[in-house]
């Protein structure tokens, strides 16, 4: 006879996906294939990480805390060309690579150009040092749902946890900032925001690979 606990677990974790969602997955896969084929990794497109570090687009928040950093591996993972990118050093010990790109979202806004321009301008002119990072970190610390507060959930060595928390907080602040700024300009839809923040212990020396 099957263990009743296991039976109960099977039942409790069964998940329902609607037929409509199943159909959308097939379309999503086709689009993902087109995206994958149209956007080779940034590294292969421009031929070297050092070029990525020194050459891409506008800076986001070029304040006193920013620093040149070699090898922004985040762009390899994300495989997009950011509208705005930079690095920031937090607490004199953690270096974060930041990159975001704004896409028009025609599905939710027939004329997304203005919203896209506003979001791009926000990202280009954003001063990372002005973001309430300490407050966000404190709020995250109190958030029981925050994966970083659930022991063992994140696949991160304990020594990397502080950097991971800064990544999460910074990412949240930037994304929230974009959408708040869009709302101030009367836009609730029209952009897809893609981006990442990758923080790690240490201060990069800016030496290209």
């Amino acid at each position: 006879m099957r263990d009743p606990l296991k039976e109960r677990l099977d039942e409790a974790f069964g998940f329902e996906i609607t037929d409509e969602s199943r159909r959308s997955i097939a379309q999503l896969s086709d689009d993902a294939r087109a995206t994958a084929q149209a956007a080779p990794t940034l590294r292969s497109r421009i031929g070297g990480r050092a070029v990525v570090a020194l050459g891409v687009l506008g800076l986001l928040g070029a304040g006193a805390a920013t620093a040149a950093v070699a090898a922004p591996a985040i762009f390899d993972w994300l495989s997009f060309t950011p509208d705005a990118s930079t690095t920031i050093v937090y607490d004199e010990s953690i270096t974060c690579e930041v990159g975001f790109v704004v896409h028009p979202d025609f599905a939710n806004n027939r004329n997304p150009e203005e919203a896209v321009a506003i979001a791009q301008e926000y990202l280009r002119t954003l001063d990372l040092d002005s973001l309430p990072l300490e407050e966000q970190l404190a709020a995250d610390e109190k958030d029981a749902e925050n994966p970083a507060n659930i022991p063992g959930l994140l696949d991160i060595a304990p020594e990397g946890l502080a950097a991971a928390k800064v990544s999460r907080a910074l990412s949240q602040l930037i994304m929230d900032g974009v959408y708040v700024d869009l709302a101030k300009h009367g836009h609730t839809a029209g952009v897809s925001l893609e981006g990442g923040v990758n923080c790690a212990d240490g201060i990069a020396d800016g030496t290209p690979e």
Binding site: A12, I17, L154, S171
Partner: protein
């Protein structure tokens, strides 16, 4: 497109047809709001299509490989790297209107609470086995841990859940 590329694309389409909904459920169980699952699935699919040449030929290994990619996408999300994929907007809207949810209409809040109370590594193993349908050995491969570690971890988790039921101190699993 070469014949080899055609073949790989066909195999990938088959793998997505077999595993796409399960991958969406994988994310649906683990993220909130549930529509974020659409973006995570989009990112996973872009990644697997980019790496289509690495897709294992065996069906089960292909499934585990795709879940391995999904696991890294989820870890990246949990570290703060968020993306909103335009290509996932349709699925995102569908999930916003009809959130992906647990299938059972029975109240399982007690057992969810007890599983939530497990250490993260044990909890993930329980959900991989009882939610995503992997055997303990397969789940070990998805998690990149040894099978013996997974077996020990799984047994410990079950023991803790059984204990939660028997001592009645936690939310209490009703069997």
């Amino acid at each position: 497109m070469s014949r080899a590329q055609d073949l790989r694309a066909t195999r990938m389409n088959e793998a997505v047809a077999l595993n796409g909904a399960d991958l969406l459920a994988y994310f649906g169980r683990r993220v909130s709001p549930s529509e974020d699952a659409a973006d995570l699935l989009g990112e996973t699919l872009v990644t697997v299509w980019r790496r289509v040449a690495d897709l294992p030929s065996d069906e089960l290994r292909a499934r585990m490989w795709m879940f391995g990619v999904a696991r890294r996408v989820l870890a990246n999300y949990n570290r703060g790297n968020r993306r909103r994929w335009e290509l996932a907007s349709k699925l995102r809207r569908e999930l916003a209107a009809h959130p992906a949810e647990y299938a059972s209409r029975v109240d399982h809040s007690d057992i969810w609470a007890d599983v939530d109370a497990l250490p993260g590594a044990q909890r993930e193993l329980i959900v991989l086995v009882h939610g995503d349908g992997f055997t303990v050995t397969e789940a070990a491969r998805v998690l990149s841990i040894s099978a013996s570690t997974a077996r020990t971890r799984y047994a410990t988790a079950l023991k803790a859940l059984q204990l939660a039921y028997s001592d009645g101190e936690s939310s209490g699993i009703r069997l």
